[in-house]
Symmetry: C2
Subunit: 247 residues, 2 copies
């Protein structure tokens, strides 16, 4: 079973990958770790496959590239080898219960670069875990933004995506977050109070959500307290059994 942890830099992908893997191992599962981030310095787990064995962003920076250019260039250099990575991940999948993919620090490197898209569309039924952290949720329309972002990931990568709010240990009013994320009617009612163009667009977009996708469960997780780990494990198992229906 392949799980890909996708999210913006700072959303907690690498920490969660390491801690969720340890949790699965403690529960008796065989787990393989794959690091797909050419720019990460330290990992809290020992990768079974690591793109940094091929190329790192900082060695490209030594050639005179800036950090953004170096990151893109590193995936340009990995692209001719994508077939070999696909084969090796599929092999790890046959040898283990879980393969955890820790994706590039910047999410767009994975979503926009052909390396990420080709990798994901070639793997057998991977589940994408879309991580977002509480600090990007400031206003009602931001909740609409993250719900749609999950769909955008589905659309781009052709996988099933489970939206996960990370770092819930730093949140005091988790029930407020839950109301916005779990109940689209509540969210729409709040958006209706916002007369700006942004509020109107968010209202319209949220209104189309039920037509676009079945109501996907959001998982609330903390890599620190392990809250939500059992639910993520259950979802991954259901995905594996039913091939994509997470309603």
């Amino acid at each position: 079973m392949i799980l890909a942890f996708v999210g913006t830099a700072g959303s907690g992908k690498t920490t969660l990958t390491g801690e969720f893997g340890r949790y699965l191992k403690e529960n008796g599962h065989n787990v393989a770790y794959v690091n797909l981030d050419t720019g990460v310095m330290r990992l809290p787990y020992k990768p079974d496959l690591d793109v940094r064995d091929e190329v790192t962003a900082w060695e490209i920076m030594e050639e005179g590239y800036g950090p953004n250019g170096a990151i893109v260039e590193s995936y340009d250099r990995l692209l001719p080898k994508v077939g070999s990575y696909i084969d090796r991940i599929i092999r790890l999948d046959t040898e283990n219960d879980y393969v955890l993919l820790d994706t590039p620090g910047q999410m767009e490197t994975f979503l926009f670069h052909e390396f990420g898209v080709r990798l994901m569309e070639s793997l057998p039924e991977p589940l994408t875990v879309y991580l977002f952290s509480p600090d990007i949720l400031r206003k009602p329309h931001d909740f609409c933004f993250v719900r749609f972002f999950g769909l955008m990931i589905d659309l781009r990568l052709g996988t099933t995506t489970v939206p996960v709010l990370s770092k819930i240990d730093i949140v005091e009013n988790i029930d407020e977050y839950r109301k916005y994320l779990d109940d689209v009617e509540y969210l729409k009612a709040r958006l209706k109070l916002d007369p700006s163009m942004q509020g109107l667009l968010a209202y319209k977009m949220c209104s189309t959500l039920p037509e676009l996708a079945p109501p996907t469960r959001v998982v609330y997780i903390s890599a620190k307290t392990r809250e939500g780990f059992d639910e993520l494990e259950t979802l991954a198992y259901e995905h594996y059994c039913t091939c994509g229906d997470l309603t």
Copy 2:
């Protein structure tokens, strides 16, 4: 009039900012350049305001951060000064006909970090120019992805967004791209032929587009041949006059 050039690393933001500014100057306009990218090494224009005077990604890397961490950290350090940047951009706007904002190399740094969101929502009616390059458009559902991405930028930044296909000088079959991007019915007909879950989701998402937003014109641009520059200038002018209606 404030134009923000937003797009993934490699979409051609910085080159277009420089060349479009030169074009405007040649046509008799006063133009100010603002660089918001802490990670860019060389610019093809002389910025009137530059975040690198405050902090650069590479000086943070010298403290031991990886490239992704350094980029995020640089905007964390800029955030307490966002008010001063807003004031200075507004001043440049009163002194010039055009202020061109060249945004961070990685688009998500701008869309997900509070620095970008607060900056954009505080500026007077900025127009966001969303750049995407032909290499990310491989299949029909990718065209749906970029159309929705424009809406996602609207939703997150609260601005009006004009979608721009960049680097059209490297494209041979531009008419094929135009059919997909300009005619949602044509795109839907092609998506209907794709029986995958991805094709079905793209079809449903594209079907909701007309309800969500008026049909926004896509601009086809080349920073090399200057094709499309006149149209972008016209659109910017119309935006300034009508405050947001680009149908």
